[in-house]
Amino acid sequence: MYWYEKENHATSPVISVRVRFARNLEDCPFPHRLSAEERVQVWERIREAFREKELVEADFSRIGELEKRVYVQTHLASPVLAEKGAGTGLLLSRDGALSIMVNEEDHLRLQVIMGGDAVNEAFDLATEYLRHASARLPFAFRQGLGYLTSCPTNLGAAMRLSAMVHLPVLTRTGRIRSLSDRLQKSGFTVRGLFGEGSEAIGEIYQISNQNSREMTPEEIHDAFVRMLAQVIRWETQQDASLGDEAEDRFYRAWGQSLWARKLSWREFALWYSDLRLGRRLGIPEAASLTWLDRYLIQSMPAPMELSDLTLADSEKRDRERARRLREMLREKEE
């Protein structure tokens, strides 16, 4: 079950967390310097190293374009990986928590994503798989530099921790800029996860640690947990006093969700934000909306098309998106 498929009963602003490590093999050039055959050899070596873990394999030179788009839109692969050819792909755990990119910018990029604010569990699972791999593959490492990566900006622990967070209050009170400045000073970056430039569709942001430099994985982990707790406090500290505005927005979004006939993903993201805030504030009708985070991902174009190939047509897709939403809302009512 993928990270977005689990029901989220919590009302935390944290939608999901992701921990990612980059590693390279000692004894052959980095991916951008390998021929297609050499990349395939690396793919075989890494596959073999994880054989006992019985991972699902997605060879990107074989799978279709739609499948690749789904992996990208569900955050299991990066857009960069989707552009590459032979000898690149994904290894995925059956429970959907772990995904390993092979021959993207580095030989191996191992990531764990989990719904909610399960930073510790994600960190533990990722390090467990990493330890398994490092006993079977020669990871390039140098004293003082840490783990070697093709881009020197990733040297050190070569670890990136990020959280997908829903910050409607900070957004609406115009405090995202100052949040970003404060976090920047303590080694974190904030950006709108969906949308161009400074847009933050759905009032959803991604917070990640900056380049880890001399920090160890444990230090990065601890700093991140503390930071996330602080962000949650800032976002929720005024919840009791938000008053009518949020309530009105919830009911408008809810009403439209119950009756709309056509819905683009962008517009759904707007309603999603109001619905999710309503749930956090304890509005009774919102209590059963535990599927919001899941539907945000599943209603994206590629996942929808994967569920039904006729939904490649955007008009049809918009109607179906609205229909599924109505269905889920009415189901819960009964």
Partner: protein, 164 residues
Amino acid sequence: MKCENCNKREAVFHYQRTQNGKTTEAHLCRECAERMGYRSQLESEIFFPFLFESSPRAHALQRCPQCHTALDEIRATGKFSCASCYDAFRDRLDLTPFVGKGYPAAAPVAAGNCESAALAEKEKKKEKKEKSLDELKKALAEAVAAEQYEKAAELRDAIRAREV
């Protein structure tokens, strides 16, 4: 050009080193270079690229011994091409913006060594097995000598199982 040390012989050894933004240079004849301790660098593979003709840009031609990427390429793309590039060019590039005070952890046991480590484990296990096989044979001989035939039979079976 003449050797800058003795000013007598022709300079054939040209050395340039950039560290922390400062560049030091030396232009020496072979004898002075050896006497001044550059000998090990003349012979070591990593420092060999320091030898170049008297052309100021030639140092940029040095290449990584494993993947043959030139330093210039790395400077231009901002990307390294393999693990050995870091060894080859570490002294010529200032990596402090990327590593700060330096990654503190020690090299993990498996890094660069996992195959020999796994092999060493295998050897150890094999050794252990063989040792106890000898011990079993010894024990068998002793059991026979002491006329403990039941025990001897057990040991014999155990030895047979091992030898299969």
